[in-house]
Symmetry: C2
DNA sequence: CCTTAGTACTAGACCGGCTAGTACTGGACC
DNA sequence: GGTCCAGTACTAGCCGGTCTAGTACTAAGG
């Protein structure tokens, strides 16, 4: 009768992944020792090695778990835009949401971590790019396509338009965060102002052909 | 008569920095040992420590040297745009130039290196951001301001316009390079097509108000 | 032109500290 | 009694940085 049999082993594994995530994100790959992870997980080193063959594998699981959790969030935001009525103020709202979602402290650290280790573990970075970055672009592109079909936008190449959207939105804040480690990060208000300004420009470039401009 | 006064000491120092640059860029900070740098520079470890107090200092010099060399290149590209007559095809040319300059293999590796170590050495990343990234934006913004003055563009906020320009231009290729380590990089032609498409969109958003569109 | 003295350099041993990963033991829970 | 696991000791190896003993270069002075 396996009621809660996923307990011991599975719970320990979750604990380990959680502790490892915190440690890796906070101190980087080389800065984190397996001993430390074991201790923080309240587990012995041996147990860590029972669940994960070696450090690289554990790191991979950490990244994959976090990435999966991230894509959910993106899809949720993109879903807001399918309803055409959200058009006028809707794009603005979506831009703000993407901004705050993507500029979240933890997510930024994770991003830096992946970039930092893209050399050591190329498959990881590639995965993240395809399942995170490209997917985000693709689902935004689908939205734009639909809005174009309904004559609410004019995006001959929706994927390109999506890349322009995110590029304009995030180029400055993302680079600042990547390079400066996001010490004294931008305020919410600042980011939202930037998002609004970007939406305005985006609509000038890709806005509806019928009405001239709001 | 100091003909070749860059005598042994200075020459050795250059050798060390060069070897260190190659090593750091190729294998990262932790992946590179001082011993290795010394060997590759054809120099003894002791000599390395005579010129640079410790590993971090050496790393800092490496980054600073490369960054200085980079800003030169950017300024050269931006300078192309001051001549108003280059307006029609000029922006396209500048975009292509920025694209190929920034997507250079070595420069990308350097960029990854800085991001990877932005936590460990925050001042370095901050410097690079201010003297590289922001400066690039600022000089582009100056160009846009001038072109707006001459009624060739319409950029109420030239700095924002510059950030939109670079964001649209580089968001995809830069992220791909950062995450995937730039294995099988995009072809020159592909990058230039992307640059052209971006310029077109940019001109729709910020183009001259007199003529409707080319 | 040669000597001399001071400085830069080499080669390699060496130290202290840290880490991935393994092996073993004694106890807890089933 | 059997299984799992914490705790800990251990192996093996790397690396930053120092130290020493001896060698090459350089520049001033006889």
């Amino acid at each position: 009768m396996k009621v809660d049999v996923e307990s011991r082993s599975a719970r320990k594994e979750r604990d380990i992944i959680h502790a490892a995530t915190v440690a890796f994100v906070g101190q980087g790959y080389d800065g984190t020792s397996m001993e430390e992870i074991a201790t923080k997980a309240g587990v012995s080193k041996q147990t860590v090695y029972k669940h994960f063959v070696d450090k690289e594998t554990l790191f991979g699981e950490v990244i994959r778990a976090s990435a999966a959790q991230a894509t959910e969030a993106f899809d949720a935001v993109a879903a807001l835009l399918t309803e055409a009525e959200f058009m006028t103020g809707g794009l603005r709202k979506v831009a703000r949401r993407f901004m705050t979602t993507l500029m979240d402290e933890e997510r930024l650290k994770l991003r830096r971590l992946i970039i930092a280790n893209a050399d050591r573990m190329p498959q990881l970075g590639r995965d993240w790019y395809e399942k995170g970055f490209e997917r985000m672009l693709a689902s935004m592109a689908t939205c734009f396509q639909q809005l174009t079909d309904r004559r609410l936008l004019r995006t001959p190449d929706p994927y390109l338009a999506a890349s322009h959207f995110f590029g304009m939105l995030l180029w400055i804040p993302m680079n600042e965060a990547m390079f400066t480690g996001n010490k004294n990060p931008r305020s919410q208000a600042e980011l939202e102002r930037h998002a609004d300004a970007t939406v305005e420009t985006f609509l000038v470039a890709y806005g509806e052909p019928a009405k001239p401009s709001a």
